[in-house]
Amino acid sequence: MTRSVCRIAIPALAAALLCSGCSSLKMPEPWVKPYERNHLADPIMSFKRDPIDAAYVGHVRDVRESARGADGGGGGGCGCN
């Protein structure tokens, strides 16, 4: 029970801190100006240019590898034939 409470409370607290902190933080001057970000905005500059493809490839790996998570999305899995 304690474990479950912690598992829900910790991310909820983190999310609350994230939201409350954003308005009080003093934003530093961005060293890459918005008008200098045209290269970063290019569609080729994306880790997952096509979400439907990235999700499928992640699924193929999840089924056959033990390593799971940290792929930029949610997770789930089971042993598979």
């Binding site: 934003m27 890459v32 970000r37 590898e65 998570g69 949610g74």
Partner: protein, 376 residues
């Protein structure tokens, strides 16, 4: 049975709603006696300027005569379907993007419901994006030809990510995810082997898994814009869990636009893992340990991937900035990955010889995707 596939990913640049687009894909995996193919359709549409909804329909048609199936369950193999449906909503408020998803995966012997919630926030002049996420999964496991068999498993996932614009051409992202499982974590069809010393033969026996698992994965990704409009991407991922599995993955990708709307992608990936503490290719005797299993996904192995993808974009020059009456642009895409799996302690027991001396197992797999995308 199959792991869930998850469509959503946190944004890497300033908080914006995802693109309005629709994708229709045919996917196919073939290797190791297994063929899995089927369609996937993903549609995303905005409501006003602050809400985006998405829905995905995905099917796996599985035809399996894998080494696990032919040596343990059914020499003739089996066929089954898996259907996955998901729906999600993104809500953008100033520099904060909130996302919730519901995913249902259904097979004749496995049902999984997953609920996800993510939030991301831009900081420091939109140079930094911090993401937090949580998922809860509720699985029900059944067994064919055994109506009384019913087990369950719960899955909790916690993740955090930071992406950082370093220069006008370099983006770096860090992510960490903890996943905790609780319940029935094995396949009801698989077994392992112990050595019958009287006959010097392998004898199949029911395997035994722990009922909890706790894992951590850490990933570092970087992407660099090359001077001639091309992109170089690298990724390193490290994984550990309390089953003593440790894994590392390295991925290097290169994206090269070609004239007249063509884009070429190539990538290579190397993955290696060490076995779970209760993995045994051959137990010395029956019930030698409390926990024991022989799933090759728990063994020591490595895989090497080479992949190529070609994309052709159409419509943007034809229809101009305003697009056509129905869509702005589209693309046709083909991707092919060849993966080679080499196992270090999983033996090919189809070869009849002295137990424990069978050749080590290896196989190649081809992963193909063909899909059409339109933006509107």
């Amino acid at each position: 049975m199959a792991a869930l596939l998850v469509i959503n990913a946190p944004p890497l640049l300033a908080a914006v709603l995802p693109e309005e687009r629709a994708d229709a894909m045919y996917h196919r995996y073939e290797g190791g006696g297994v063929t899995v193919d089927g369609p996937s359709v993903l549609v995303r549409k905005n409501i006003a300027d602050t809400v985006s909804i998405n829905a995905n329909y995905y099917v796996d048609y599985v035809s399996s005569a894998s080494i696990d199936v032919v040596t343990q369950a059914s020499p003739q193999g089996y066929t089954e379907d898996r259907t996955q449906k998901s729906i999600g909503v993104d809500y953008l408020y100033d520099r904060t993007l909130m996302t919730v998803n519901y995913i249902n995966s259904d097979e004749n012997d496995y049902t999984a419901d997953t609920y996800t919630a993510d939030i991301s926030q831009d900081f420091f002049g939109d140079l930094t994006t911090v993401s937090l996420g949580f998922s809860y999964g509720d699985d029900t496991i059944r067994k064919n030809r055994d109506a009384s068999f019913k087990q369950s498993a719960e899955r909790y996932s916690y993740r955090i990510g930071v992406s950082q614009i370093i220069t006008s051409k370099l983006l770096v992202a860090l992510s960490w995810e903890n996943i905790a499982d609780d319940g029935y974590l094995k396949s009801p069809y698989r077994s392992d082997y112990f050595l019958d010393t009287a006959t010097n033969q392998r004898v199949a026996a029911e395997d035994s898994y722990p009922t909890t698992r706790d894992s951590d994965a850490f990933a570092l990704r970087a992407m660099y814009y090359l001077p001639y409009r091309a992109a170089l991407k690298g990724e390193y991922k490290h994984y550990t869990d309390d089953w003593d599995i440790s894994a590392d993955a390295f991925d290097l990708a290169y994206t090269h636009p070609l004239p007249k709307g063509w884009i070429l992608d190539v990538h290579t990936r190397y993955y290696k893992q060490d076995k779970a503490y209760f993995y045994y290719d051959l137990l010395p005797y029956a019930n030698a340990f409390d926990f024991h299993a022989r799933d090759k996904e728990l063994s020591t192995f490595n895989s090497t991937t080479f992949g190529i993808a070609v994309s052709y974009e159409f419509g943007s020059d034809l229809f101009g900035e305003k697009g056509s009456a129905f869509f702005d642009k589209g693309s046709i895409n083909f991707a092919w990955d060849r993966i080679q799996f080499d196992y270090d302690d999983f033996r090919d027991v189809r070869v009849k010889t002295t137990p424990g001396t069978e050749p080590l197992y290896s196989f190649d797999a081809d992963v193909i995707r063909f899909y059409l995308s339109v933006w509107y």
